[in-house]
């Protein structure tokens, strides 16, 4: 019988809101309902999945709906899972609609079990067993315990290719990624079966044959089976090789757009050659890219081999469909949270509202990565909806800090603790300008430098900048001849591109250098033997035959020391000849070229730079320094790269400066040079200073002839000792310090290899290296040791391994190197480490 509903009453609700129940009911107040409608509403309520039991009755004209809510899940805990993380399992369950707080249904329990089983079967764990247990909790809730026995992963025991006559089973097995259990399998897991890997292997098997002429190779069927105990997997592939084909004729058809011989240049397939699918695909690729450069972004080139009946010859037909000439509508950038839009846009070689060129777009992408502001730049060219010849170009970049504001802390063996506040920002405030405020102090050098460069002073890339610096170095600290230099100055610099990847640079600098030679300054700097300042009298004391010296007859002030008492130094030191304060203005011109694929940690391309720094006539010192630096990367395998690096330096004085000033000398050894040797220690040594011997006279005669304690009441006076008309000379014994030279020859070959666990190779680089190099001096002082003119067999070699890791503080590098032919004077240093300075 039917009745008209005056009201609907729902009873038994706990958590579900009344609103959602009323919404689920197909009937409402005022409807007339019959038996069928009531059953339909019960069904639709049940469909919500929230209720275990629904009873619908009548109370007069009020429809009474009594529901029993399904329990909700209070917690899910999983034990016994080792291979798959609990989170991963829970995520899988959430996907199957099973999570804490959800309504619990019997069907979802089976769904859950199947889901977990599926995850394990996918991992090749065919005999995994899963038990579930549901425990009721108060307030109509349930908790679910899952006990997993993961079983063992089925390992591949046997792979058999049936029907291969041309290539042997072992040869084919090499192609397969799936392998039978070998000794490395515990690590590479290559003996774990997975469907994807098998499909991949079958594809590489097919292309292996197709690339060697077997056009009609096909795989008839593959069988995968398990041993009864489900721990071993057996794979068999049944193939029909077909005959080997050679290429008969090759011709192009369709709308070539370019003259035929332009496109034919990209033809890798030639007559008489064995057919190779690989060559066909790469020909297609090169031609499509060439057409892309012509603005045909949607060009399609398909190579179709047509078999001439009955023969093993195939006629290759390349059909060219250029599609419509495409234009770029808009170029957008994504991910440049700090870098301004025009900093990216000015690197573009592709314009908006212009014909699209695939090579220009790719070039733009590489230029973005070469900036060094981004760790990665990718580009997509989606078609503009509604226009089949318009594309948008969407770049996405991932910014990396190209410098840091704030204190930087570094440690290097040669420089000790490097403390400094530096604001070396290549992308200052995202404007693309390079700003550097460096306030560094370390054991041997204090450097204050402010530099500003705008690489895009004009749209075409003419750069303009300046820098001012003050540097005071005390090189005695870092095993270089003991002298200190205080230099300050500044320079204006400009640069502009002369080709897509080459730039010229000019810099006009002015610098004032002051050298203070230490007391023990080496001979090359200050002639020896020399008088010590602070000792201003001498006395004659004759040596007795028992070796002692006679008493001092008289103390004579230094001024009236007869000249011939001094020994004449054979060679004047640099400071003697040129004084110790130089105001030079220098012009540096440089040519640089770079096709590196990444600003930092590049893996492909070359970079060379030649620079000539000339201290112009009219400066106190007139010298020039020529410097070449180059590096080139050869990809050896997909992941191994060979990097060759070289550096040459030559400097000399001209005009009235006889030699390259010693503080401008080249040094070698240590990081960035020949590792395995202590830094800056290779090459010529300085000769220790010779000083006139001083001694305290024991007793002395005062002017009126009676013995007196020389040195006066407050302390011992010093005086020079002379013997038979000559002041005695003693040489300092401290070991000779490296002095550098005016010729630098250096190079290294590094084999970059991937560390097994490291995925992000732009952050960490490891390499085996062979370093070679030394410093020479064309004008060795006669007494200088370890000083040679340019001589190949004096080059030092070392071999070792080094790792650089870019951390938050900047690059951290360490290397372990073994010198092969260290000279007697060279100081070796096997392990070298520096933080805050790259190599």
């Amino acid at each position: 019988e039917t009745f008209q509903i005056s009201d609907i009453r729902v009873e038994g609700l706990q958590r579900i809101s009344a609103g959602s129940v009323f919404a689920a009911l197909p009937v409402g107040v005022g409807d007339t309902v019959d038996e069928y409608a009531i059953r339909a509403s019960a069904r639709s309520l049940f469909a919500t999945g929230n209720f275990d039991d629904i009873r619908i009755g009548r109370d007069g004209n009020v429809l009474v709906v009594v529901v029993a809510e399904r329990p909700s899940i209070s917690e899910i805990n999983i034990e016994g899972n080792k291979a798959i993380e609990t989170e991963a399992l829970l995520d899988g369950l959430k996907g199957a609609g099973l999570a804490v707080g959800q309504v619990f249904q019997r069907s979802t329990l089976e769904g859950m079990q199947m889901e977990l089983q599926r995850q394990y079967v996918q991992q090749g764990r065919y005999d995994a067993a899963i038990e579930t247990e549901v425990l009721p909790e108060p307030r109509n809730r349930v908790s679910i315990n899952i006990d997993v026995d993961e079983g063992t992963v089925a390992a591949i025991k046997h792979i058999n290719v049936v029907g291969n006559e041309v290539f042997s089973d072992d040869e084919l097995e090499e192609i397969f990624e799936l392998r039978t259990t070998g000794w490395l399998s515990f690590f590479t897991n290559d003996d774990k079966y997975s469907k994807e890997k098998l499909t991949g292997d079958l594809e590489s098997l097919t292309s292996y044959y197709m690339d060697r002429g077997y056009l009609q190779f096909r795989i008839d069927s593959t069988q995968v089976s398990v041993s009864p105990n489900k721990e071993e997997v057996y794979i068999t592939a049944n193939v029909t090789e077909g005959d080997k084909f050679t290429v008969g004729s090759v011709d192009l058809s369709g709308d070539l757009v370019l003259p035929e011989e332009d496109l034919r240049r990209f033809l890798l397939v030639a007559e008489g050659q064995t057919f190779s699918q690989q060559l066909v695909t790469s020909t297609e690729e090169y031609m499509t890219r060439r057409l892309g450069n012509e603005g045909y972004n949607f060009a399609k080139v398909t190579g179709i081999p047509e078999v001439e009946e009955g023969s093993n010859v195939v006629a290759m037909k390349f059909f060219v469909d250029p599609g419509k000439r495409t234009y770029v509508r808009r170029i957008t950038f994504k991910g440049n949270l700090k870098t301004a839009d025009d900093v990216l846009r000015r690197e573009m070689r592709q314009m908006e509202s212009a014909p699209a060129s695939a090579s220009a777009i790719e070039q733009s992408r590489v230029r973005l990565e070469r900036l060094g502001y981004f760790s990665r730049a990718t580009v997509e060219t989606p078609q503009v909806p509604g226009h089949d010849d318009l594309i948008d170009v969407e770049f996405e970049v991932e910014e990396q800090s190209s410098g840091s504001i704030g204190a930087s802390f570094g440690y290097a063996q040669d420089a000790g603790l490097i403390l400094g506040l530096n604001l070396q920002q290549d992308n200052f405030m995202g404007t693309g300008k390079r700003v550097g405020i460096n306030l560094n102090s370390s054991r041997y050098q204090d450097l204050y430098n402010f530099s500003y460069t705008n690489p895009y002073f004009t749209e075409d890339g003419v750069s303009r900048g300046f820098n001012v610096f003050y540097r005071s170095t005390d090189l005695s600290e870092v095993n270089v001849a003991s002298y200190t230099t205080d230099t300050f100055g500044g320079a204006l610099n400009f640069g502009y591109p002369i080709k897509e990847t080459q730039r010229l640079g000019f810099s006009f600098g002015l610098s004032d250098t002051e050298i203070t030679a230490g007391r023990f300054a080496v001979q090359e700097i200050k002639a020896s033997p020399r008088l010590l300042d602070g000792v201003d009298d001498w006395f004659e004391s004759t040596q007795q035959d028992d070796g002692s010296f006679s008493d001092v007859e008289s103390i004579i002030p230094i001024e009236d020391l007869p000249f011939e008492q001094l020994t004449i130094p054979e060679e004047p030191g640099f400071l003697d000849e040129n004084g110790d304060n130089f105001l030079n203005w220098t012009i540096t011109s440089s040519w640089s070229q770079s096709t590196l694929n990444r600003g930092r940690m590049a893996t492909r391309g070359t970079a060379n730079s030649v620079s000539l720094e000339v201290a112009m006539p009219g400066s106190d010192l007139e010298f020039y320094k020529l410097n070449y630096r180059g590096e080139i990367y050869f990809p050896v395998t997909a992941t191994w790269t060979l990097r060759l690096r070289g550096e040459l330096g030559y400097g000399d004085g001209y005009g009235d400066t006889t030699e390259l000033p010693f503080y401008e000398h080249f040094f070698a050894g240590g990081f960035g040079s020949v590792r395995g040797f202590e830094s800056n220690t290779l090459g010529p040594r300085s000769t220790a200073a010779e000083l006139y011997t001083t001694r305290q006279p024991v007793t002395g005669i005062d002017e009126d002839g009676n013995a007196v304690e020389v040195g006066g009441p407050n302390g011992r006076e010093f005086g020079y000792v002379s013997r038979d008309g000559k002041l005695l000379v003693e040489t300092l014994r401290d070991d000779p310090d490296p002095f550098g030279g005016n010729v630098l020859i250096e190079g290294s070959a590094e084999l970059l290899f991937p560390l097994p666990f490291i995925k992000d190779r732009s952050k960490l680089r490891s390499a085996f290296f062979v370093d070679v190099g030394n410093v020479f001096n064309t004008k060795c002082a006669s007494s200088q040791i370890n000083c040679f003119d340019v001589d190949a067999d004096e080059l030092r070699y070392s071999v070792g391994v080094g790792v650089t890791w870019i951390t938050g503080f900047g690059p951290m590098t360490f290397s372990l190197a073994k010198p092969l032919n260290a000279g007697p004077e060279d100081e070796e240093e096997a392990f070298q480490f520096t933080l805050g300075r790259g190599f």
Binding site: K334, G335, T339, A340, D341, D342, M351, E352, S353, V462
Partner: protein, 274 residues
């Protein structure tokens, strides 16, 4: 093993009320992650208690203040999914908008003189879409006025970005690219103040492209709508700032190969100094 340094584990049986009070104290003392933890504890232990909904809302607030914007959006999404018809669901939409609006600015960025319209605009688009959800669904919500004001700001920012790019292309010499960017603003960003500059860019571009009659029409519209635009002189014709043979350069610049005192390229930018 070593117990992790979790929140001092609140005794299992502390009542719903105490945990909620605990969370309030952390919120008041701006201790955001502890607040989040106790609110989450409250929710998991009493998922259907009377504070559950309120706790979910306050988790959003705590995440946002703790600069964990993704987590705030996630919490808001969860609230919207669980309580689509909740009277306070507008708050969740609003917070999603705010999280996208602040994006990954840190504490300083509101002071730095960087111009957002120069930076990546995808963040602005996302924020606009989120606020749009709120304003179009709940025009009466107390948060709607603030959301709408931000939407207007975002739209103007997106329009300004187009003009900046147009200025670059004028400097670069790609006049058609600049014109089309101007046209894009005029055609798509009606009601934004950048439309005036869009028209000026179009006019200047057409002149440089030699399409004078198109330029004439554009100038007529510009003069009609923005008579006091800097590129319109008093009797309504257009002051062209770019010519086909580059910018005038003073003699010093010429003498020093263009390296010193370069002419500053004109900019179409009539943004009022706020």
């Amino acid at each position: 093993c070593a117990g992790n340094d979790e929140l001092p584990d609140i005794a299992a049986d502390t009542g719903e009320q105490q945990i909620y009070e605990e969370a309030q104290r952390y919120l008041r003392s701006s201790n955001w992650d502890l607040a989040v933890r106790s609110l989450q504890l409250l929710e998991s232990r009493y998922p259907f208690g009377k504070y559950a909904e309120q706790a979910q809302l306050e988790i959003i607030y705590a995440h946002y203040n703790g600069y964990e914007h993704e987590a705030a959006v996630e919490a808001a999404d969860r609230f919207i999914r669980l309580h689509p018809a909740h009277p306070n669901v507008d708050y969740a939409y609003y917070m999603k908008g705010l999280a996208a609006y602040t994006g990954n600015d840190d504490i300083f960025s509101r002071f730095l003189p960087t111009d957002e319209s120069e930076r990546d605009v995808t963040q602005a688009k996302e924020a606009f879409a989120e606020f749009n959800q709120l304003v179009s669904r709940y025009p009466a919500s107390p948060y709607a006025p603030d959301a709408r004001a931000r939407m207007v700001h975002l739209r103007n920012l997106l329009a300004r970005h187009e003009i900046l790019v147009a200025n670059y292309y004028f400097r670069r010499g790609a006049y058609m690219a600049a014109t089309n960017r101007g046209r894009y603003v005029v055609e798509n960003f009606q009601r934004s103040p950048a439309v005036a500059d869009g028209l000026a860019v179009m006019a200047q571009g057409y002149i440089l492209l030699g399409l004078d009659d198109l330029a004439k029409d554009t100038i007529e519209v510009l003069a009609l709508n923005y008579p006091n635009h800097p590129n319109i002189d008093k009797n309504g014709n257009f002051k062209s700032v770019y010519t086909l043979d580059g910018l005038q350069r003073n003699w010093i610049n010429k003498a020093t190969f263009g390296l010193f005192f370069p002419p500053t390229p004109p900019q179409f930018d009539t943004r009022p100094k706020l």
